[in-house]
Structures are given as C-alpha cells and as structure tokens.
C-alpha cells in the first residue's frame, strides 16, 4: 500500500511537471520605455553640425563580437535596417563586429532583468529610460564616462543636448549615453474642426466640449482616443498629469506625490470624459495600433499618441494633413507650468561584458553614426534625436517619418512645455522605484482603473493606493526612510 502511494505520488508529480510544461506559456506582452529627466534637459539646445571625430582603429588581433540588444525603436522595418547598419562598424573598427539582436518592448523589463540575473547580459543595449539607473544601483552598468570625455576633447559633446548627457550621471558614473527622447502629444482632426467652425481646444473644458460635439457612436465617431494597454499605453498615461502641471514626485524629488490636487483633477477629468461617452467602448484595452486604426478610418476627432511610429503611420495612411498637432491644452490648475511629457532613452553598457573597451568603442560608434537610421523614412525611428546637429540638419528634417515632430519641437519643446516624467523634480531619490513604475506597468493599471472604477471609488482613492504602494516600493528598492 505504501509502495503504491509512493508510486502514485511520484507519477502525479511527473504528470504535473509534464502538464505544467504543456500549459506553459509563450512569452507575453508589454512594457515600454519611459524616461525621466531634468526639466532643462528638454530645452532647446542649438548646435552646429559637426562630423563625428575619427576614431583610432582598435588594436588588430582577434575579432571581438559585441552583443547589442536594441529595442524596437522604430517602425516595422527598423530591426532589419538597424541590423544592416550594425555591420558597418567593421569599416571603422575592423576588430569589432556587432551581434545585433532586436528586443521587443513587450517584456523588456523581464528580459533584461533575467539576462542580468543569470549572467547573460548583453555587452550593450538600448532600453527603457530608467533602466540604466536601476541596474547601475545594483552594480550592473559600465561607466561610459570616457566616451563623454573623448567627445569633450574633440568637440562632439557640443553637438549634444548636454543637459541630457548630464542627466545620465548617477553616483559619479556616466550610466548611459542619451540618443533620443520620445514626446507624447495630441493631434486633432483639423478638417472636422474647421468644417464645424470649432477652434482647436486650448483648455480641458474645450476638449470636453469638442469631444462631445464630435461623438456619435451610432455612426462610429468618437471624441478622443488614446492607448491604455501595451507599451505605449503604459508610457503615455502621465501626459494627463503633465497637461495639468502635475507629477508624481515632490519638487525637491525627495518624496512621492501621487495624491496632489493636480493629479486628482486629471483623473476626475478622464472620468468625466468617460461618463460623457466620448471614448470608444473598447478604449480600456486599446494598444497604439488600435488608436491609429481608429484615426485612419475617420472615427475619432482627437488622439494622444507617442511620437514616432504612430505619427508616421497616420501620415502614411494619408491623414497627415487631416490630423494636426495640438498645442498643449491647459488643465484647470496648470498655473502656466503645463506641458506634454517625454522620456529620454539611453544606450548603456553592462559591467558583465568581458570586453569593456570594445564595448565602449561600439557604443560610441553607434551613437555617432545613427544618422543613417534617423534619416531613413522606412526605419521610422521613434522620438527626436538628442544630437542638435542632426536635429537641425536638412537631411534629418526633410526625411523625418513623423511629420508632427517638427511641430512638436517648434510649438512645444522650444516653448519649454515638454516635461520629463519626474517633473516637477529635476532629480529624485528613487530611481529604482521610478523604473519599477514603468516596468511593472503601474501606468497601464492606473489608466485602466480610471476607466473601470465604480462611482464609490474616488480619484483620490485610486491615487492613494499608488501613493501607499509607491512608498513601500521606495523603502524596498531605494532604501528610503
């Protein structure tokens, strides 16, 4: 009997193992880049075009392969074009080749963390905006300060928005080299507004009025749509706080401040819009492609998107003239400090690399030569380049895939209305916490909670929950008191 029980137990354990394996998943989906930064980092910074300095060829000898994990930071063609571009490194560094691997935003947080934890980190990568800070805190990031020093000597440094380079200083180390920033912004159907004699909205009240005006579900027309799911949905939501001058950190960056009045008003406003029925019914599950789809089938009057691929897709579908860039609408408590938001993304190197010098060479080369990708209409690189000389070059401006970017630069960034995600702080005590908000998809959860919360749950309740959980995280990850 005993033997039988043991046999039964073992068989059951094996069956479980096998069945669990059968049901075990394919990797799932979704978390994108976010980046923070000092407010001044996003200010206009002019510069003259200057050719990248010539590098000495790396010492000859055995060829070194650099594992480069690059996020999908563009349209569908980006990975193939970037992989092809990576091959060109041998023209300048004959001893280096790049093993290029494209990493989707979905699960990037898990992908990198697992790789690092198992000692399989790449040599260098792009990634989420807070990623380099988080891994630097656990000693996994290679200091690339020597690249900045070289650039200072040869003048390349002056071509950069230097505040953004400084932004990636952490505990005396340069934990990443910025390469782009991704603004989130609003577009509106200029032809509809004009036909109905409505001025583009400048305040939230006007957004509400316009959204209600254009909403006609029976004919498939809606006032406003934005992604609430997937990677874009996660990184985009805090634009609502930005438009009202809000944020989730105190001004000195020493504490979390989810529950401030400006944020409460932002959630209240979304709930009002929802009650007014101006959102499409499925908004709570929309990813960015569904919002673009809605836009290009004449179904929505206003959209909020992450600049780059979505803007390019709208333009490509022939809606580039119909949708126009909307200047930052003002929330009720904006006090003149409202803005859209952006994330700054960096290229970083990992301390697990066995070839630190070659990794830095490769990182430097990639940073200096990305212009080929930026000026490819088909690669549709996301966001705006950190290098001012590229930004101002005719080659870039005449080839930009997202036509709204130039408007964004001229009408928002140059007016100081583009905030980073840690606004109103310029530095914060909890970089790991901030990265966790992004990686753990707190924004997605909040975005969906606002749309699905019952009347008994106030906006303050929703934010208080984040405040409490955030404080726990701050203690756990960043050791805050």
């Amino acid at each position: 009997m005993k033997k039988k029980s043991v046999a039964l137990f073992l068989s059951a354990a094996m069956i479980i193992g096998t069945l669990a394996g059968c049901a075990a998943p394919a990797a799932p989906a979704a978390a994108p880049a976010d980046a923070p930064a000092k407010e001044e980092a996003v200010e206009e910074a002019p510069a003259e075009a200057e050719a990248p300095a010539e590098e000495e060829a790396a010492p000859s000898g055995e060829k070194v392969t650099i594992d480069f994990w690059d996020m999908v930071v563009g349209g569908d063609n980006y990975p193939a074009e970037a992989a092809e571009h990576a091959k060109k490194i041998s023209e300048e560094y004959p001893n280096i080749e790049i093993a290029y691997e494209s990493i989707p935003w979905a699960n990037r947080y898990e992908t990198f963390t697992t790789a690092i934890a198992s000692g399989q980190a790449p040599d260098m990568s792009t990634g989420g905006g807070y990623q380099s800070f988080q891994y630097a805190a656990s000693g996994e990031i290679l200091d690339v300060g020597s690249i900045v020093e070289e650039w200072k000597e040869d003048g390349t440094y002056d071509n950069y928005n230097t505040a953004m380079i400084d932004y990636f200083q952490y505990n005396g180390q340069q934990v990443g080299i910025p390469w782009n920033y991704e603004p989130r912004y609003m577009l509106y159907r200029a032809d509809w507004f004009e036909a109905d004699g409505i001025e583009p909205p400048t305040t939230w009240d006007e957004i509400m009025a316009a959204a209600e005006h254009f909403t006609d579900p029976a004919n498939g027309k809606y006032g406003l749509a934005y992604p609430t799911s997937g990677s874009s949905g996660n990184v985009l939501f805090n634009i609502w706080f930005g438009m009202n001058g809000g944020g989730i950190w105190t001004e000195d960056g020493q504490a979390l401040d989810w529950t401030n009045e400006k944020n409460v008003e932002a959630l209240d406003f979304i709930r009002e819009l929802n009650k007014a029925g101006v959102f499409p019914e499925g908004l709570g599950a929309y990813e960015s492609n569904e919002v673009v789809q809605l836009a290009v089938q004449d179904s929505v009057a206003m959209v909020i998107i992450v600049g780059g691929a979505s803007g390019a897709q709208i333009a490509e579908a022939g809606f580039g003239d119909k949708f126009q860039y909307l200047d930052v609408p003002t929330g009720p408590s904006a006090d003149g400090n409202n803005g859209y938001v952006t994330a700054i993304n960096a290229i970083m190197a990992y301390s697990q690399t066995e070839t630190p010098q070659e990794t830095k060479d490769a990182l430097k080369w990639w940073s200096e030569n990305m212009i080929d990708l930026w000026t490819s209409k088909t690669a549709q690189v996301s966001g705006i380049p950190v290098r001012n000389d590229w930004l101002q070059s005719e080659t870039y401006t005449s080839n930009i895939a997202d036509p709204y970017m130039i408007e964004c630069i001229n009408r928002t960034i140059n007016k100081g209305q583009m905030h980073t995600l840690i606004y109103p702080a310029s530095n914060i005590v909890g970089w790991q916490t901030q990265n966790a908000f992004d990686g753990e998809r707190w924004w997605t959860a909040l975005s969906q909670a606002v749309l699905t919360a019952d009347d008994g749950t106030s906006s303050l309740d929703l934010l208080q929950e984040r405040q409490d959980d955030g404080n726990e995280l701050l203690k756990e990850l960043d050791g805050a008191e």
Partner: protein
C-alpha cells in the same frame, strides 16, 4: 499437489542473480529517462520549492536569507492572491463545464451518420490545432469594438446599437478569457467524447429501446454511464491545463483591465520577473503545485480504476 508445484517453480526463479532479474533490468533501463526528467523537471521543481523559503530576488541585490514560512504566510494573507486564486478557479471550472457541454453536443452531432462527416470533423479540430498565440490574436481582433467581426455582426443584426468593449470592462474581459479558452478546448473534449460514443455498443442501445426507452432515456441510462470514465479523464485534464494556463489569457488581455484577468500563473510570473520577488513567486507556484498535485492524484485514481 499445489505445494509440490510451488516448490518446483520457486528454485528456478530464485536461481537468477539479482542483476538478471526482470525488475533490475527494468530499473536500469529506466535510469536514462529518470535522469532526463529529474534534470529538467524535478530538480528545478525542488530548487523552486527550496527558494520559496528564502527572500531570494531576481537580481541578487541583497543578502540571501532563509525566512522559513514567511512567504507562505504572506501568500495566505495577500488579498490580491485570493482574488486571483478565485478567478483562476472560476476560469478553470468555467472552461471545463462549458467546453464539456459544448464538446459533448458536438460529439453527439458528429456521431450521427451525416454526409461529409470527415470534413466536419476536420473543421472541428481547427481551434485545437491553432497555436495559442494565433488564437489569442484572432480573438483579440474579433472582439475589437470598432473593427471586430463580432461587434460588426451584432450591429448588422440589430442586436446592439453601439459596439461593446468586450475586453475593456473587468467582467467582459473575464468572461471573454473563459470563452476563448472554451473555444480552444472544446474540440479536444468533442474528440474524446466521440471516441467514447463510438465505443458504446449498438446492441445495448437497441436493447434499451426494445425495453421501451426513449432517445433521452437511452442517452441518460445507457450512453452517459458508458462515458463516465472518459468524461472524468478529459475534464480533469482540461481543468489542469486551464488552471496552469498562461499564454491565452496573457496574450488576450495582458491580465487587464486593471488586473481583472490575472490568473495564478500570471501573478506568479509578475511577482518573479517584474517585481523580482523570486522567493515570493515560488511560494505562490508551490501552492499551485500542491493544489494540482491533489487534482492529479484524483486523475491517477480515475485512470487507474478498472473499467465499469
């Protein structure tokens, strides 16, 4: 006579050395398979259980400590865990009940002598053979409020005036996750039940009819008892698959909206790979393991029971 026979046979068997005996050879032959299974199944499982008694994080950014049952105590006091466990159970049971009823109905139809039966059976199998990723994306688009075929059909038929955001509300998403899993699993149920139906003797059914039984009586008193074992087996298996399911829910809803469709495997995944709490995540997985072990023992009993 009996005693003589026994004593005549016994020495012949015991003359073999132990390494010549069948049981020894059998164990030797099993060793490679056991080592393989041990290394890829049992050892990770043992390691995982061991980890559940520690504060292990994915990034080794703090000292590793043995914390006994702290993770388990936390699991059982975690309201979110119980909410997730409740939905996981509802998801698995909902799938089993609906796919069983649907599968049985389809099997009864497929068991009838109709033309092109082979083609219908082939079509029936499609949801079962389609990969989970494809299933999730097909449904995701079919359920879309603006371009999804389901909303378009419902509106065309005049059944709804405005589209339904099936995946945008917690209740809708929870229900749809079950519906999609039923769609995926009912062909398996139907196939197994069809095999069961075909094994029911026509003579017994005829006898029941001669005794005055109507179609319903024949089904209830003859067919269903014959299907008991096969029903128990396939419902248990589908329950286990659904309880452990990850990909179909994750790809369909991402666990949303607002965590409404978190099942236990998704929760454990997030705890391990997003929140990096490996110790806590493995304690959740161990709780799942114990529960599934009980279900599997039940399954073993069914399958090892003698036929009725």
């Amino acid at each position: 006579m009996k005693n003589t026979n026994k004593s005549a046979q016994k020495p012949a068997a015991s003359h073999k050395k132990f390494y010549q005996k069948d049981w020894f050879i059998a164990y030797i032959l099993l060793i490679p398979a056991f080592l393989f299974l041990f290394s890829i199944r049992l050892w990770p499982m043992v390691q995982g259980i061991g980890m559940s008694f520690t504060n292990r994080r994915l990034l080794n950014d703090r000292p590793l400590k043995f914390i006994a049952f702290d993770n388990y105590i936390r699991v059982f006091h975690d309201k979110e865990f119980w909410g997730v466990a409740g939905y996981t159970l509802a998801y698995a049971l909902g799938t089993v009940i609906c796919s069983y009823l649907l599968g049985l109905g389809v099997a009864l139809l497929m068991n009838m002598k109709i033309r092109y039966r082979g083609i219908f059976r082939m079509i029936l199998m499609i949801p079962w053979v389609v990969p989970g990723v494809v299933t999730a994306y097909i449904w995701k688009y079919a359920l879309n409020d603006q371009i999804g075929i389901i909303n378009i059909m419902l509106q065309s038929l005049g059944l709804i005036k405005k589209p339904i955001g099936f995946l945008a509300s917690p209740q809708g998403a929870r229900t749809m996750a079950i519906v999609v899993n039923v769609w995926k699993n009912y062909p398996y149920m139907a196939l197994v039940m069809l095999a069961g139906l075909q094994s029911v003797s026509e003579e017994i059914k005829d006898a029941a009819r001669i005794d005055g039984g109507g179609a319903l009586d024949v089904f209830r008193y003859v067919v269903m008892p014959e299907l008991r074992t096969v029903s128990m087996m396939c419902t248990t298996l589908v329950f286990i698959w659904s309880f452990n399911s990850f990909d179909s829910v994750f790809l369909l809803t991402g666990g949303g909206p607002n965590k409404a469709t978190y099942v236990m495997s998704i929760e454990a995944y997030f705890q391990a790979f997003q929140k990096m709490n490996l110790g806590y995540a493995t304690s959740m997985a161990t709780v799942m393991l114990i529960f599934m072990l009980v279900v599997s023992l039940f399954y073993m009993r069914i399958t090892s029971a003698p036929p009725d």
